[in-house]
């Protein structure tokens, strides 16, 4: 039979009905929150509905964007998928884990962390969140490799060199502490580390925010090339339409914890439907 129907599209990551509430998780907290109320804070319970009813699938080789301003919940969604924080409700499944039949939210924290070795990798806006700055570039890449059992020093160095080459970090800097690296270079090392074990799913949280424009452009180029070549399924979280436009094929727009619109990235830029999306696009267009 077909593998092509919407129902059986070969997704690598599937998120369904994801929600994250800080504070009282009862349904009462939902009332009066969301874009139509202009707030994510429940008027009755004071809980913050950081994300609610977020669902999407990402296919291998596909990049999905999540765009929204700060506080829209986009980073919360990413952190829930990464396992950095626990979702209040909903399902997260990876094709690589029991063929997608396991809800990652049901796993123990330890099992959840183990997924970060091979099944899912994250690149954070702040390289210090994903790297040990007092370890060499090679040593940072050695971390995920040794974690999955690499025990050959020369083998690790060879793999680290390959990865650094791929992210265009000069090999002469492999044995320098990451602390001595520029922001763009640190971000490249973080990307190399994330790719070390060829994860099928890659999460990118504002990967170029805070970098100088020219440096950010270089990192974006690199990411676009890697997304094309590796066949990884990527989720790109950004407040910047330029980043989303360059890296993703489809996009979700979030506001006050809810998805207000989703579509093909160029369609969202050319023909946004929701008033908030139109406002975002208008702002991005200057």
């Amino acid at each position: 039979m077909s593998t092509h129907t919407p129902q059986s599209r070969p997704w690598a990551l599937k998120v369904s009905g994801l929600g994250r509430i800080y504070g009282d998780p009862s349904p009462a907290s939902l009332t009066g929150t969301g874009p139509e109320h202009g707030t994510a804070v429940s008027p009755s319970t004071g809980a913050v509905v950081a994300a609610w009813d977020v669902s999407f699938e990402v296919a291998p080789g596909e990049a999905l964007g999540i765009i929204g301003e700060s506080g829209s919940g986009k980073s919360t969604v990413m952190r829930c998928i990464a396992g950095d924080e626990a979702a209040t409700t909903g399902g997260i499944a990876l094709r690589s884990v029991a063929d997608g039949t396991v809800n990652l939210c049901d796993l123990l924290p330890s099992a959840r962390r183990r997924l970060r070795l091979k099944d899912i990798a994250a690149v954070y806006q702040d390289p210090a969140a994903g790297l040990n700055l007092d370890v060499t570039a090679g040593g940072n890449i050695a971390d995920p490799l040794t974690a999955v059992g690499w025990r050959s020093y020369d083998g690790i160095r060879q793999r680290a060199a390959e990865l650094l080459e791929r992210v265009e970090v000069p090999l002469s800097r492999m044995d320098d502490l990451v602390r001595t690296f520029s922001g763009g270079m640190r971000q490249r090392v973080q990307i190399a580390k994330a790719l070390a074990n060829d994860p099928p799913v890659l999460l990118l949280d504002e990967p170029t925010t805070g970098l100088d424009a020219s440096v950010a452009a270089g990192v974006l180029d690199l990411l676009r090339g890697l997304l094309e070549e590796t066949g990884v399924a990527a989720v790109v979280v950004s407040h910047d339409f330029g980043v989303i436009d360059m890296l993703t094929r489809r996009v979700l727009v979030m506001k006050h914890g809810r998805v207000v619109e989703s579509g093909l990235t160029d369609q969202l830029l050319e023909d946004p439907q929701h008033p908030y999306s139109q406002q975002l696009v208008a702002a991005a267009r200057g």
Binding site: V135, G139, D143, R151, Y153
Partner: protein, 325 residues
Amino acid sequence: MNTLSPTRTGTGASRAGALAGPDPRPGIFDELSKRELRRAMLSGIAIPGYQVPYGSREMPVARGWGSGGLQATLSLVCDEDQLKVIDQGEDAGVNASNLRRLITEHTGAGEETDTRAADIIQSRHRIPEQPLTDGQILVLQVPNAEPLFRIVQEMDEQRRMHAEADYAKMWVWLYEDIVHNGLITAAAGYPVLVEGRYVMTPSPIPRWDVPKMNDSDAITILSAGREKRLFAVPPHTRVVPLTFDDRPFEVEYTPGTACRLCGSDDTYLVEEPGENGAPGTWSCSDTDFCTRRRTGDAPADVAGQPVELARAALRRATREQEETS
């Protein structure tokens, strides 16, 4: 439960004393605490390499000066036991003598220097060269129980890493050591993997002694009084020093040296500086073994045969040199 002391029956307060077993000797360690230590040791033996917490008591030695080893030994030793205590391989050192005397005077155990005859051997820096046998217990004083202390500072994170056997950061640390220094420089307390599960520090023994822990006939108890934790290696347990497959574990060795007293070149040797700038001389660190080697009363092979590792490393180095020239 043993006999109850006639002076300790009846009242609720004395019931605890009754549970503690035999009438305590007047002295330095109460029976309830000994029982706590023994339970902790049994837990440690059940989970090789796992750090078991215990309530460390005040001892007549300062914490960090063997109080952990002292509590373990006091909890284990019986009247009929022979006790050996060494400091840097030597029975006659000041610390060793004092600890040995302290224990024997408070327990009735006999003082012993011959490793073969000792039931319990307490040590800080060395494991005897004499292969230990079934029934013997080696008590090591551990100044720093946590092998991860150099890698992460947060104790919660250290515990999590042990619980999940997540030792990648330890491997990164070894990797970085080779990058910066060309080799793994960890000397005393070289990290080992116990029975394929827990990473453990083997106390500040030299690398030379690490192979002796693997598949030993004896029980090893490692106790840290200051950190209030102990861990154990039961007999015939795999103890493997952490290293990369292509960077074999090496021990301390100076080619061409031998003990000036007994002539051994397969024991752990320490250098004594020469007088007036003359070249230093070498002698066995393990004085008991050295004495017996001289009288022909020692086995041909020392425990663990670490010299074989040293010789293999030498052969590798020579081969590499030939290949490059």
